[in-house]
């Protein structure tokens, strides 16, 4: 049994750095998500959210970001790997919500210039996802040598990512539907 509202899966572009290749990844994932029936998305660029840095957590909530998180049934996080870790500003942004995430699905796209496709940033993010109440899927998309995967305009150069993204998104949508049913109908 599914409710009629479309499934909404925002893509969080998790870096603010100049020259970020993750922007191409986020836009690509958004294009792939809307290929699914009755599924909507938008790219949330944390560069555009003016979070203060002299405080943290829910005390610096941004109304627009929190509303987007509230509406979401699942999230795609595009996380570049910086020195084997996640971008500090991504964590800073994620920490501003809590109730908006609980019992919602999340899938992580790791991005790296090297050969490992952000596997270490994904592993580092998983305990954070758990503490935020998010439910991580077991598919990732690993964008290794990302500078070769897209041209400077964001055109995909390696079509293999289309199939990889599709598997990831199908699992994420399934989890999003199941968790929505649970959030709305199954009492603790």
């Amino acid at each position: 049994m599914e409710s009629g509202r479309p499934i909404f899966i925002p893509v969080i572009l998790g870096t603010t750095r100049k020259g970020r290749m993750s922007e191409h990844v986020a836009n690509f994932m958004a294009r792939e998500i809307v290929k699914q029936e009755n599924v909507g998305t938008e790219v949330v660029d944390i560069r555009n959210i003016p979070f203060p840095t002299d405080d943290a957590g829910e005390s610096i909530k941004h109304a627009g970001f929190s509303e987007t998180a509230m509406k979401a049934d699942a999230f795609v996080i595009v996380a570049p790997e910086y020195n084997h870790g996640y971008p500090g500003l991504l964590k800073h942004a994620l920490d501003t919500n809590l109730k908006e995430y609980i019992h919602k699905a999340v899938g992580i796209c790791g991005v790296s210039a090297g050969p490992f496709g952000g596997t270490r940033v994904i592993e580092n993010l998983l305990p954070v996802m758990r503490e935020l109440g998010l439910v991580a899927i077991f598919w990732d998309v690993n964008f290794s040598a990302v500078q070769k995967a897209f041209d400077e305009n964001g055109k995909l150069l390696d079509e293999a990512y289309v199939k990889r993204a599709e598997k990831f998104i199908k699992e994420l949508v399934w989890m999003a539907k199941v968790l929505r049913y649970g959030r709305e109908n199954v009492e603790i």
Binding site: S3, K71, K99, I102, G133, R180, E184, N185, V186, I188
Partner: protein, 59 residues
């Protein structure tokens, strides 16, 4: 004992309490901690009508 369900402030539908989570920040903010868990137990409620999410302190 069944607790009173929340009404969604956005659409009026009856919300579903699907999660509880311990918050330690709220203790720092002056809330009395639960003696068993050491933090404040927050209930999470979701509206089946519009998807709105609300939280309230359990008690």
């Amino acid at each position: 004992m069944t607790k009173k369900r929340l009404s969604c402030p956005r659409c009026g539908a009856e919300m579903n309490n699907h999660a509880e989570k311990i918050s330690y920040e709220e203790v720092a903010g002056g809330y009395k901690p639960d003696p068993v868990f050491g933090g404040v137990v927050e209930e999470i409620h979701t509206c089946p009508g519009c998807g709105n999410v609300e939280s309230r302190t359990a008690g």
